[in-house]
């Protein structure tokens, strides 16, 4: 495997030899496996192997990038890239790549995640659990089992050289107890140890059962308890807005708000590329060590997420979140609160418990006005108890206002991720938020 690192370093040397100012090359040998199922049966199983080196170089602040496949045509590829740099346009804001020789943490990846002997067993375990919890074999389920193992080799002319191994496994299941009554559960991890597909199935089945015979929802303002899966979508939204790139293009409610109060005091939001996470990594795309960053501390906005270049523009240090062009969050966490889930429910006199959402879209990222569509279990809470299942509502509110309206966070947190909706992965609690606007079609 060090042969691959040597070949990756060779690419960097070639670029430098041609006259490039900076070169970074990152080779990923990825093995990805997925089993898709619906109607309680496996539809297709998929495997894809990728052998790719991403190469970026700069020459007189001109930034160009390419992709080499399986170390084919390296000389020609790097030469062509350098020629492109010569005719490209200077980026006066270019702040360079991460400099230095870093010691990275040792990866704790689990190689076995892509060698599961019979993935179907995991799927059927989840389906079985959903059926049992929902109390019916007629419960219709669908979802995916996904796993990945990436060997990553990075070399940079600015010093960083490193190897990483990144593993992930995810089971996502949606259960329908009726055409309009469903629940969604996920089980996410970086390792097979403790990975329990039945947990996802149970959650999906439990919500699906409770969600039976939903009534059309009623417009208004409600106190809302967000399930960790829904919270994961919200964290993705706020995490995206914390990227320095989002700030520069005004796709964020956090513009010019560093050091200011942007959330209630109960909120501490971190980006943590930890080994437990599906998004585990030890370095970013420049080779800067990936590390924990506190984005919001007790309601105060502490930092944007940076690569070296955006950090220079903002007169700070990289946070280890490159993206060579766009820095982004790896794995978001909200610090655990002090409430039990049951306590949280007992706080709600008349409110909603929303278990999942999708299709979040903005009118205006700068002001934060948006809507998103709750799906799966939507429950009316009266005097701390779930009294009705609802359907056909929309959450139409404001991203900044919502952060400030968080009044409770549970002790319990769960690693969640599903599709593009709760992404990036996160460690999400139940969240109690006051005064959330709900609308419905007329």
């Amino acid at each position: 495997m060090s042969e691959i690192l040597a070949k990756t370093e060779q690419i960097v040397k070639k670029g430098k030899g041609l006259g490039a100012d900076e070169v970074v090359a990152q080779t990923t040998f990825g093995r990805y496996r997925q089993t898709r199922f619906s109607n309680n049966q496996i539809d297709i199983s998929v495997a894809w192997n990728d052998y790719v080196t991403q190469v970026a170089l700069t020459w007189k602040k001109r930034f160009v990038a390419t992709q080499l496949r399986d170390f084919q045509n390296v000389d020609q590829g790097v030469k062509r890239l350098f020629q492109l740099a010569k005719v490209s346009k200077e980026n006066p804001q270019w702040g360079g790549l991460a400099k230095g020789e870093f010691r990275y943490q040792k990866s704790k990846a689990d190689k076995t995640v892509v060698n599961i002997r019979n993935p179907a067993e995991y799927v059927f375990e989840a389906i079985e659990a959903a059926h049992e919890e929902a109390g019916s074999r007629q419960t219709n389920t669908g979802g995916i089992l996904f796993s990945k193992l990436e060997d990553v080799y990075l070399a940079s002319s600015e010093g960083p050289v490193g190897k990483d191994q990144r593993s992930a496994i995810e089971l996502s299941i949606r259960a329908f107890s009726d055409k309009e009554a469903s629940g969604h559960g996920v089980e996410c991890s970086s390792t097979l140890k403790g990975f329990d597909p039945s947990r996802a199935g149970q959650k999906a089945g439990e919500i699906a059962k409770q969600a039976k015979t939903p009534k059309p929802g009623v417009e208004g303002r409600y106190d809302v308890i967000f399930d960790p899966l829904f919270t994961g979508s919200l964290l993705g939204m706020w995490g995206f807005m914390a990227s320095a790139y989002s700030i520069m293009v005004q796709m964020s409610v956090f513009v010019n708000k560093l050091g200011q109060k942007v959330a209630s005091d109960t909120v501490t939001l971190r980006d943590v590329p930890a080994s437990y996470s599906m998004a585990n990594r030890v370095f970013d795309d420049e080779g800067a060590p990936a590390k924990e960053n506190v984005i919001i501390s007790k309601g105060i906005l502490k930092t944007y997420l940076h690569n070296t270049s955006t950090a220079k523009i903002f007169k700070t240090e990289t946070t280890g979140n490159a993206g060579l062009v766009v820095p982004s969050a790896w794995n978001l966490e909200i610090d655990a609160g002090d409430m039990d889930k049951e306590e949280m429910f007992s706080e709600v006199r008349r409110g909603l418990y929303l278990t999942n959402t999708w299709y979040t879209r903005f009118q205006n990222y700068a002001t934060g006005d948006f809507s998103t569509i709750p799906r799966d279990g939507i429950f009316l809470i009266e005097n701390g108890e779930i009294t009705q299942s609802w359907k056909d509502i929309r959450l139409s509110d404001n991203a900044l206002k919502m952060l400030n309206n968080i009044v409770g966070i549970s002790k319990e947190r769960q690693q969640v991720h599903w599709w593009n909706e709760a992404d990036p992965p996160s460690l999400s609690p139940y969240v109690l938020m006051k005064d959330v606007q709900i609308t419905r079609p007329k």
């Binding site: 192997n49 309009e180 009118q363 002001t367 079609p441």
Partner: protein, 472 residues
Amino acid sequence: MDKDIADFTLKYAESKKVDYAEVRAHSTEYEELAMKNGVLDAYAQMIDSGFCVRILAKGGLGFASTNRWTKEEARDIVDIACKYATTAKRKDSITFAEEKSVKISWKVNEKKKILNVTPETRIETLTDLDKELTSQGINVASRILQFGTNITEKYFVNTEGSVISSYVPRINAYNFITVVENGKPEQAYRQFGYAGGWEALTEWKMNEQTIKEAKVLQRVIKESKSIKPGKMDLICGPEVTGIAAHESCGHPMEADRISGREMSQAGRSFIYPGGPFWLKTKIGSPAVTIVDDPTVKNSYGYYEYDDEGIKARRRYLYKRGIINEFLHNRETAAKMNTRSNGSSRAISYDREAIVRMANTFVEPGDMTEEELLEDIKEGVYMRSFTEWNIDDKRFNQRYVGREAYWIENGELKHPVARPVIETTTQIFWTAVDAVSKKVEYDAATCGKGDPMQGVPVYMGGPSIRLREVYVK
């Protein structure tokens, strides 16, 4: 691309005595530029190339892909796909609708070849746009301007004897702008797409369109007024008609969604067996005919054969207000005892082909825009949208106007501040009583599949008039 390796892969798959196998190879040459606030952030060139095999055996489906063009790798992916197919243990076997085999080569022609366009010219496309945009006396406080070309060669072979080669060049651009006046921001994005050559730039009039957008935002900030919520007439311009056609007609008519295959991600459909809506039931007024057509020349969603080798044709989804024809691939067609209508698409060699739209639009009527307007006493003309979304059964939807005007006695008055229509598919399409003559398209990237596959599409139509709908 090494066609011999692809042929070898198919032969090796055949030797496994499978029920069906296909090999699909893609080689795509990308060139992409990203500019932010007048600064060229990055210029990327790359070639992505690889192949996949999909196998049907013992009633199950298996798929595997690689970007390493060797016989050893070819054997490996066939072995994996075969194992996956045979261990699926389905109660009901997957089958494919019978289709004729095809041997053909097709391509999209370029009047001005993309490959002949220099990097300098490509960069100028963005720098000129940025310069023009920022010299209008409007505070365009931030700009994302992106521009790209991709040329995809595909090679498809299957065990039924099909051999199809294709060559499709595409050009795309994406703009996101923020205009600030009096401290108030408004934002707009616009996507452009075309299958063909560099002549796209002339057809798009990108600079003119983007500047117009900035002017609209400025006017919205300065002059727009909120409306009093209530029932009123609404005219949707082609952009709004297009998104509604795509979201509340195209998506729910995808047969894989109807059969539940996308249930845990993109969701299901309000159309399902035994439900209130099915083929031949009413969903809209007789004024509404919505089609999906991959054969619109130079459209962003253009193709002649789909990724299962089926000839593309126009599909009438809603016909005069009646649910008429679902979008099918061979798998869903077999389930519903019909034929594929060529709706199977994959974005890359490493993705399974699934049921997709191509270009979805409302067919034109016979009225002029003026005629649509003339008998409206009070209402809203929503020319374009900002926020939009729809539930995962494709029934409860919402469109928020970006450029919108108050209509009074048949005349356009002041801009309206972000009017909202939040309604159901049935109410929306049933309320349409008139449709204008002129169809316009917008390019978009349609998201579906897991992993996500964003495919190029057009969405569009003429202006349409809705009577007595709730607007807030």
